[in-house]
């Protein structure tokens, strides 16, 4: 109900405001243009997130100081802590970084975002920035229409900055005209009640605009024309710092529990920082005065002093909170536990990771590995093998001989329960995610989808094999029993080899499995003919063996192909290099021939 009336109410209030005050209209238009600029800026940076940002992020978050620095630098460059926090959430959801590293980035981003106040106070109000805005907009829009993604990205960034400057200009103009008609200072409240009231207003303004930058620019411009008191300006800035967490909270709604934990950490950090700032506001103001004196900021230059305050109180927050990062991680992990979900529910696919190509690819890879884990159980039981035996170091012949009776399993039912739904979710995710990808990234997703299909086909081959395998592994005829146990032994070695390749990230070792597959092909190595000629097996048994050897061959082929795609991590170039050195069937045959000769 509240949701339904919220938007119309806001629109009505604004419309009434525009009707009674042209100055309010100009200020609001300035905010709108400023936010539009932010959207352009985000769009521009997205053009460069096709690998570069992700690679830097993955490499620079292994230590706390690195993740903190990354947060500071990336937010300073992008001038948007929201974009950095949304990207961090998507990385966390994809399992590319740890929660502690994510928290480090968010802390850093909080400090990085204070550079915005410096830019607006130091540069934005001192020069006629609308003069810079116009050429930026023209050059930016020309570049936006170019075909090259990078030129387009630069265009969006330039146009975004142009709109930001234009927005600041309109807000400034609006406030200056406003001053002549209404004096907002008359509404100022002093002392702690004023601090809490204006902090609350700062929260509300930032939640509505979803940008602390926009709130800060309003505070600074209002402060520059004396529409609010310095003290109330500081309280608004503190409130803006809390309100800015709304973007991360909204972003985390579409992510998994890790993203939600990060948004929780963001809220806790900003709330704690705000409480410290309010409690110690007069002491921090003294520090701001001392610092301003030291660097030569005039005593009445409240706009720059607000920027100093913003930086100091965020730095204090970081210093206070850093020792508690591990406690924060533990608390959030306990407070927001991972939901126990069905094995067929996707673990890594989320809307948050869908937006960033590299995280989308890694999420799909991890989800198909999850699909493989589910399929592994079905295939193992379908071959009458136990998973713990496959991944153990137990002698393989011993495992085969020790199996005295088939393991009861309904493969169709298991497929419907644990594989089909998950596979469908992966395919649907891929088709959505590939829309905003480069051709190279799209190819990688295509390969991963093929790996998923290989897994499904391997289960189908297992299903075909299962019936005869269960019958003949306990047959009275020792010859047919041996042949079927040979098939099981070979497939046991394949599954074990796959597990080893998965653990060791060594897909080239899978070529050994391919080699053995060619070597053990009963249908071509003369074994079958020999068994039929010597009447050791019946014609019916021979037909079954021929078909099942072919299923086993296909099963190995599919699983090895899947492993070659799935078990290699790292960036796209590295994956491509490893995969391209894997030997194909003809090359295998050449080795086989040279070994025989």
């Amino acid at each position: 109900m509240i949701r339904k009336i919220f938007l119309p109410t806001i629109l009505l209030v604004l419309a009434y405001g525009f009707w009674i005050s042209p100055d309010f209209k100009e200020i609001s238009a300035g905010v709108a243009v400023f936010l539009f600029g932010m959207l352009f800026l985000e769009e521009g940076f997205k053009a460069f997130t096709g690998g570069l940002l992700e690679r830097i992020l993955a490499k620079t978050t292994d230590k706390l100081w690195k993740s903190l620095s990354f947060g500071v630098i990336s937010t300073t460059l992008m001038q948007s802590s929201s974009l950095v926090s949304v990207i961090t959430i998507s990385f966390l959801s994809a399992g590319l970084i740890s929660l502690a590293a994510g928290i480090g980035i968010i802390f850093g981003a909080n400090l990085g975002t204070t550079t915005g106040a410096w830019l607006i106070a130091g540069f934005g109000l001192k020069v006629k920035i609308s003069a810079y805005a116009m050429p930026m907009l023209v050059f930016g829009i020309i570049l936006v229409f170019q075909k090259s993604i990078h030129l387009k990205g630069i265009g969006y960034i330039l146009a975004g900055l142009g709109f930001l400057f234009l927005g600041i200009h309109h807000m400034k103009e609006g406030f200056e005209a406003f001053r002549t008609t209404i004096d907002l200072k008359a509404f100022s409240v002093s002392g702690y009640p004023g601090l809490f009231l204006f902090a609350f207003l700062g929260v509300a303004a930032t939640v509505i605009m979803q940008s602390s930058h926009a709130t800060l620019v309003i505070i600074i411009t209002a402060l520059s024309v004396g529409q609010i008191t310095y003290e109330n300006g500081l309280a608004l800035a503190i409130g803006a710092n809390i309100g800015t967490t709304i973007t991360a909270i909204l972003g985390s709604m579409s992510s998994n529990v890790q993203g939600k934990r990060l948004a929780g950490a963001h809220l806790i950090f900003n709330m704690a920082t705000a409480l410290i700032a309010i409690a110690l506001i007069y002491q921090i103001m003294d520090v701001v005065d001392a610092f301003s004196n030291m660097v030569g900021i005039a005593a009445d230059d409240y706009t720059l002093k607000l920027a100093v305050f913003h930086t100091i109180f965020n730095t204090i927050g970081i210093i206070v909170m850093i020792p508690f990062i591990n406690h924060l991680v533990n608390f959030l992990t306990r407070f927001m536990p991972e939901k126990v979900v069905s094995v067929a529910t996707p673990k890594y696919l989320s809307e948050a990771s869908e937006m960033i190509p590299d995280s989308a690819i890694e999420s799909v890879r991890k989800e198909i590995l999850h699909l493989y884990d589910n399929a592994f159980a079905i295939i193992a039981h379908g071959l009458n093998l136990h998973r713990h035996d496959i991944i153990s170091e137990r002698d393989t012949n011993e495992i085969i001989i020790d199996t005295k009776s088939p393991i009861p399993i309904n493969i169709d039912e298991q497929y419907e329960l644990n594989v089909k739904g998950l596979y469908s979710d992966i395919v649907a995710f891929i088709s959505r995610a590939q829309i905003q990808m480069t051709a190279e990234q799209g190819n990688e997703l295509f390969e991963l989808r093929t790996a998923g299909r290989d897994i499904v086909e391997a289960i189908k081959d297992t299903k075909h094999l299962h019936k005869n395998l269960s019958t003949y592994m306990i047959s009275d005829n020792p010859h047919i029993r041996d042949e079927y146990n040979k098939i099981r032994l070979h497939l046991l070695l394949v599954l074990r080899g796959l597990e080893e390749a998965k653990e060791g990230d060594d897909i080239l070792s899978l070529d050994n499995l391919k080699f053995d597959m060619e070597l053990n092909d009963t249908t071509t190595n003369g074994t079958l003919e020999e068994l039929i000629h010597s009447d050791k097996i019946t014609a019916e048994m021979a037909t079954s063996l021929m078909n099942d050897a072919s299923y086993a061959y296909n099963l190995t082929d599919k699983l090895v192909q899947m492993g070659e795609i799935l078990f290699v991590a790292g960036d796209l170039e590295m994956r491509e290099a490893e995969r391209s050195l894997a030997l194909d069937k003809d090359e295998m045959k050449e080795i086989l021939e040279s070994q025989e000769s």
């Binding site: 050994n512 491509e576 290099a577 391209s580 090359e587 080795i591 070994q595």
Partner: protein
């Protein structure tokens, strides 16, 4: 390596910018180094192995690594020429 597969790698390589081309070559060199290390370990293992069946198995593994390395070295040579 069959020509179409190699052709695909070279084609992708040529359409990449200079920085990416170097990255491609670097990746192949890294994989080759890994293979060389594996080969050395297996050769040492072969020297100390007396069981005939195990020796045959190691020889087979070495033949596969040799073929992979030959393929890699050939690819790097071609990519370097095109660079």
């Amino acid at each position: 390596m069959k020509s179409p597969k190699l052709l695909k790698i070279v084609k992708r390589f040529l359409s990449a910018d200079e920085e990416k081309q170097h990255k491609h070559i670097e990746c192949f060199t890294d994989v080759l180094k890994k293979l060389k290390k594996k080969e050395r370990i297996l050769k040492k293992k072969l020297e100390n192995e007396s069981n005939n069946k195990n020796r045959q198995q190691i020889k087979k593994d070495l033949a596969i690594i040799y073929a992979q390395r030959t393929k890699g070295i050939r690819t790097v040579k071609i990519l370097k020429k095109k660079c």
